[in-house]
Structure formats: C-alpha cells, structure tokens
Symmetry: C2
Subunit: 258 residues, 2 copies
C-alpha cells in the first residue's frame, strides 16, 4: 500500500533525525541535522518541529536542538536501565566507595562495548567512558571480558576485522587477543594497562544472568601508576558476584528461562 510505504518512510526519517544526535554531537542546528541525515531542509524543519512539540527534542537556544527530557524518560524504561542497572547499582556504589575509583557497567551492543553506568571516583584518571557511549570491544577490560564470553563465531568474525589502536597498550594482534580472551575465561577476570587510554588501567570481571550466560561486565579504573592491579581483583570479583546474585537465581539447567 502506498500509505504504508509513505508511513514507514516518515517514521524512518524521524528516527534518522534522532539518530543524528550522538555523544560527539549532542546539540545540533537544523542545517547540521539535514546534512547528517541527507534530508531536505523543509522535511528536516517539519520533523524537528513535531519532535519538539512532543518533548522528544528540545530547543535550548534559537536554531539549536538537543535530545529532550521526554526521550530520556522513555529510555529509562529500557531493561538495560530498569533491570540491569538498578540491580547492579548497590554493589557498584560499594565498589566505588571502597576503592574511590571510577566504576563501569558495560554490555555488548553489536560489535561494541556500551557503557550502561559509570560511577565517579575520587582520583583523577583519564577515562573516555560516559553513560550511553560505545567503545571498541578489544580495547577495554570490560569489553574484553564480554568478547571472551561471546560465541566462538562472533569472536572469529571480530578477530578477522582490524583491531584499531586507541592507546599504547591496546592489543592489536588477533593471536595475542585470542590468548588474552582464553586467559580471561580461565582466570575469571581481566587486567588491562593503557589499552583504552594512556594512563588508565583496569580490573574487570563478568556478570552472569539467570540464563547462565554472561550478560554484562564491570570494571574499576585506576591510574596506570598503580603497581599491583592484582590487589583489586578480589573486590571486583566479589562485586561481580553480588550483581550476578542480584540478577536472580540461575536456572538449574543453565538454559534460558524463556
């Protein structure tokens, strides 16, 4: 039906408008939105006006737009926020309070690590993370933990791609990364030095869901001047176990509950 096709494309265009906002471009002009989406000026103008009307976009200043509070509120209903984040928070807060360091909660999203939570530390460590930001899987502790527990075909496909360097310690060699992933599986944790950002190191561990599968990972980030990362391992593993427990009892057969 013509109506269906037209409807689909209006919604698609509106979602493209929303998708043009990102961590790097949280605020845009109409011209920037039009350029990013390839939409005509008039179409962009009309869609943006309607999105503002619904509170999905906000206009902080004349001609400038950003994601609005209504979209944030809707997003807070997603399971990643309602279930995972809420369940994990008490244990993450304890880890942040005891260590005084930045704490991350991360999930796999396509082929990247998506940062679901980031608690603040008392030390000034250079970190690139931000809630909602996605970072390369191979270049961070929690990312490598997720990769270590991903299906074999996923890992093979991932290792066949280029592994870009983001800092001095980034593992860019597929063979070395494969051995690092095996280490993570056998030890149950992951130490990283200067892999995502020079000057930042981390200790990460997996979080297991009721299905028996790794559903997330967490990490504590410390300055790379920290000599013995190993000292943080018990606290990180205990926290991961606490979150695993908070997510609910594991199915006795190890299968999915649904």
């Amino acid at each position: 039906m013509g109506d269906s096709r037209r409807g689909r494309s209006v919604l698609g265009r509106a979602l493209a408008v929303l998708g043009s906002f990102s961590d790097e471009r949280p605020e845009q002009t109409l011209g920037e939105i039009a350029a990013a989406t390839g939409l005509a000026s008039a179409t962009t103008h009309r869609l943006v006006a309607e999105l503002v009307e619904w509170g999905v976009l906000e206009r902080p200043a004349r001609g400038r737009y950003r994601i609005g509070i209504r979209l944030w509120q809707l997003g807070s209903l997603a399971p990643v926020a309602r279930d995972l984040r809420d369940s994990a928070l008490p244990a993450l807060q304890d880890l942040a309070a005891v260590t005084g360091q930045v704490v991350h909660l991360v999930v796999l999203d396509d082929h990247e690590a998506l940062f679901v939570e980031r608690l603040a530390g008392h030390t000034d460590v250079p970190v690139r993370s931000r809630v909602g930001r996605r970072l390369p899987l191979h270049a961070s502790g929690p990312g490598k933990v997720l990769l270590a527990h991903a299906p074999a075909e996923f890992v093979d496909e991932f290792l066949a791609r280029k592994l870009p360097r983001t800092a001095a310690g980034t593992i860019t060699d597929p063979g070395r990364l494969r051995r690092a992933l095996a280490d993570i599986r056998s030890t149950g944790y992951c130490l990283s030095r200067d892999e995502m950002t020079d000057g930042a190191s981390s200790v990460a561990a997996p979080i297991v869901g009721p299905s028996g599968e790794v559903v997330a990972s967490l990490s504590v980030v410390v300055p790379s001047s920290t000599e013995n990362l190993q000292l943080l391992v018990p606290a990180v593993r205990v926290t991961a176990a606490a979150v695993t427990r908070a997510l609910g009892p594991r199915s006795p057969l190890g299968g999915k509950r649904r």
Copy 2:
C-alpha cells in the same frame, strides 16, 4: 499539504505508541498498545514492527514489547543526564556512602517531580522512586523544594488544584503547604515525614544553576523511625552546594547566560 498532514500523523502515532509504555507498563502486548493508543490493530502492528527494526522497541518474547536499548542510548544524550546527572553524581555518591541511605536527584517536569537519579542505600526504606518516574510535587521533600522556588503564578495554579494524599503525612491543605514552602525558602532546606510513603522521611535541599535559579533538588531518605532528621541537614546542604558548584559559576548579574 496532504503529505505533510499525513506525515505529521504517522510520527504522532509512533510517538503515541512509545508514550503508551510507562513505569507501570514497561512491557506490553500489541493488543495493550492498541488499546492504550486507540490505534487500529494493523496500524499498531506496522508501527511496532518498524520501531523494533530500529531497536527503539525490543521483543523479549513472542508478542511482547518493551523499550529498546537504542532509545535508552539516545535518551542518555539529554541534558538532564549528560549535564545535570553527570555533574551531580560524585557529590550524590559521597552523600550515599556517608549516610548509607537512598539519595535522590529531582527536577520539575510539568507539574510533577521527575526523579533523575536514585542511588541505593544500605537501609531498607520504603521508597516509591525510580529513575524516570514522576511523583506528585507536594508529596515529597525534593518536590516541595522545587515548588518553593517555582514562580508565584505556578504555585498559585498548583495550590488551586486538588492535593491528593499519598501517605499519612501528606500536606493536603493549600494554606499549610504555602506556609511549608515559605519555611523552605527561609531555612534553605526541607524536612518531610511520611509524606510520600508511610515509613519514609527525607531531608531535601535546592540545587542552583548558573542562571541563579533553582534547577533541581536532592534528598536523602531515611526510615521514619529516625528521631532527629535535623542531624542530616548539614550533609544534605553541603551536597547541594557541591552540586551547585559543579554546575558552573553563577552569572554575576544573576541573569540567564543565554
């Protein structure tokens, strides 16, 4: 133009589909979505399918839908998350760690209090809050703080409405609420006992933005068995001052920066 009218209405319908999800109904069937939006089955089906395709909705089980990770990620770009929440978090974490109690960060949203952050406590206090949830302004400490600093016309209009009771201590008399608001303005903080939920009490204080206006409030929630709420006032006010400072320098003329 017909095209414009039809386009507007497709987007409006899609936003109505998203708006049918709420804290009370985070997961819905197609039938529930159709009933909540008043849309025809076929239209609902088509819109939901497209929203799933874009990751805006997810299908956790056959015929059941919920808000997807892509919408959560977009929402995390809203200023309320990126600016306010990120700036406030270190101080909120300190308050939660020192008191061991639930800590809230709240903003005014239409005529309600919108909970932007909620850190966990070590005590089991009955609280209705959840990130993204809205609660009545007059029935919570942080809500009353926001109301106390709202424009006079807003307060008059608010007090002319019915003030529903949510717990034994809820202030439902407009005159008494008006006096409570004056107290909050003169003392700089707010004590509440059993106003939102029986068994929960709170101490709240305002957060001031660079414009010199109150942009948010924070509170710490304690069991109502706590005898002297006053003991928590300095910690709450110091935290509110820390967040105020983190939001940036106040304009010397007290006017808006934009």
